[in-house]
Assembly symmetry: D2
Homo-oligomer: 242 residues x 4
């Protein structure tokens, strides 16, 4: 199935062009590395970035996208509300959405969650360990009981999101915090997976285990092919009493 799924990898793509430190880690941009990881795992991928026309998310691109991945950090506000609405609509119609790391504050995610999506954070080069709490979930396929990331930005609870439909990963941090770091949602007919790891200054998206999780999440989030609901004024299906 995976060979036919079409993935669009979206990236803000600013840090990589402005910061030598980030460019050293992701010289072609975070999107290039994520796309390569997914391409290797059998998906048809394309990329799109903030500074492309329409942010690279034209009607045509979205219509041809099964799953969209989203990475953004410092320019969330520059994403046009018009395009955000277009993305959100496609999710409700069934397109999958993978929300990565600092995209917890992106407009599409906040709009789909209905909450502030705030959290605690700290940049201190500390250890993170993601524990699989739901080993029967397809997003945990082929993953070890925990993923250890030697240097990470910390995100800590309270993470202000709705309780996830499925909680797949929970993170431990060296500095004393925990975080629900793999969260599944359904909104409309679309599936959403928030996955925490992936700061711009760490080579996290080069890791095989992280790419495996992303690939699992793409398969899980792909449109399922259920009925398109009719909304509006409906005739009765049974005879009514007078």
């Amino acid at each position: 199935m995976s060979s036919e799924l079409s993935v669009t990898v979206w990236n803000e793509y600013r840090h990589e062009r402005d910061s030598d430190e980030v460019a050293e880690v992701y010289p072609e941009g975070i999107h290039a590395v994520i796309a390569e990881g997914l391409e290797e795992r059998g998906f048809d991928t394309r990329t799109a970035t903030l500074d492309d026309p329409e942010h690279g998310l034209t009607e045509g691109v979205l219509a041809d996208t099964d799953v969209l991945t989203w990475w953004g950090h410092r320019a969330h506000d520059e994403v046009s509300d018009h395009i955000v609405e277009r993305v959100v609509e496609r999710v409700r119609e069934g397109m999958g959405l993978l929300v990565l790391h600092s995209a917890h504050y992106s407009k599409p995610f906040k709009s789909l969650m209905g909450t502030s999506c705030s959290l605690k954070w700290r940049e201190a080069d500390e250890r993170e360990r993601l524990w699989v709490v739901e080993p029967g979930h397809p997003i945990a396929a082929g993953v070890d009981e925990h993923i250890e990331i030697p240097r990470a930005e910390m995100y800590g609870e309270r993470f202000d999101v709705p309780a996830p439909d499925d909680l797949v990963f929970t993170s431990w941090f060296e500095g004393g915090e925990v975080f629900r770091s793999g969260c599944c949602y359904t909104r409309g007919s679309g599936k959403i997976f928030y996955f925490r790891p992936g700061h711009e200054t760490y080579p996290i998206y080069y890791r095989d285990d992280v790419c495996d999780v992303l690939a699992n999440a793409v398969e899980w989030a792909a449109p399922a092919g259920g009925p398109e609901p009719f909304f509006g004024n409906a005739d009765p299906l049974e005879e009514l009493d007078d």
Copy 2:
């Protein structure tokens, strides 16, 4: 406890002033009847309507409101985005919100759900029977196994909302549809209850069983007094490795 809870009953209050048919059912407005039912059940109630200054929802009123009930139908768009944001913020801080009938399409509910909140509907004077599917839930306290409403507007699935945290009621309709008619959510620190019955042309809010459900929902949705989360840059609680 209930004697100390402060409830603000909000109503669009247009149908009752424009339509003789509606005015006959709710001469002082839907809000007056809901407020009276809650007042009788021991809550401190006030009312507020669309055409009040700031829709009656000033900072002061909301700060002094434990639970807000919302009824609207044809003028959702006239509710100022500024006031909607104020309401949504208060919910996230802990204020309870009861979303009634056609307020499924209200701005605060859509914003907090992140979905279209669409559904099927029909005005055909048909019978509705709300079944309690979660009899252990506090919102079902004192309620019979089902509530029968002889004449109702129909709402049918697919109801495009996130799967509720708790599903308390499911409705049967004479014309052949079903509907998740009592849905609980938590968003931020606030609790939200959507309750389906209550069209403007039927005297549904005069019913004791319906008012009992609303009163139960007020108690359930009242602020729980948990910790106010800190969001932002956080110092480590443990010593970090060098």
Copy 3:
């Protein structure tokens, strides 16, 4: 993927041998019809029945089963506790389980749910309409917005099960009841789907739409390949303070 999944279709297989009325509908047994429907949809299927040695559910059979479907009605008590424990253990390890109609009262389902699994029922040749309430769920793939079954046994709420992790279908009945008729659970690493339709006197398992749902459920419930958790005494992963 489906071509490699191995399905064992279990049936009590008593009604069909004792009752002419049932034998007329299912001359080779309910299991034969279900197995054929799944075989046609690309699964490797075998059948097993109560009166086989070890009820046909030897260690070897279960070890080689990805998904087990279960139909029973009047002889639940004759299923050996030893075999029930074997089935339950395999589910916890990751084997999928489809629980069909009157198997709501089967030992494996009651043991995995921890509740009475009781409900209301009536045999009155009445109409059932299953509404898809979660159109984005993979079990709803290719299904219409509702499935109409002209003559069915009624099952009504309160259905005494834990709130499902995902609620895919809700049924409307002509006689005035509703029922959560497509319920998803995870227990251990195993996925469980309860699906309501399928009384022994109605040819429901010959329907394409019903078989499509069963096939979708087999794919959804198949083992996902996640980590096998370690349980027991664990060494620390971090250095502890003295």
Copy 4:
């Protein structure tokens, strides 16, 4: 309300009589300390232990119990299946159940969960920090953002329980693990709260913050007074077609 709730505090009560180390911490038994903490917070409490006749859980005692708390560790197997069934039945009818620490392996909890309830563990005098992940939940009332326990037994994920209906607390451990340490369930009409802290060698049940959580949980788990469902053969509520 709390002044009228009747709580039965059950304890295995073996460690305290056999081990000097434990007796030094809990000279009158763990149950005495829990009962005192709840009594001080306004509940009517009684205690019951394994070696009492019928384990102290007669029909009369259970009929008069709103919420039962359960602590056991090394003698789970000595609890009579007959009494377990009695407890489980009462929970399904609406009695609340608080499952404490090592009672994750108790017969009533395993029976109500339907899973193995296994986990990782370690006795190494390490630090635990329970984070509130759902600050709007009534069980978090008056609690700080985290509870720090200086010396605790470690319990680590995977915790083999069904995904909780509400997850209130998640624990961080010094040795590198996480744990869902405050888990809410509804089974039948009864509410169940699993709370992790409380090893027999640590004075954890003397802590005000821990007792506050237990008191909150008692109020949350108390019978809600909803309808007692009818199960069985039901007459139609609507006229059926011929």
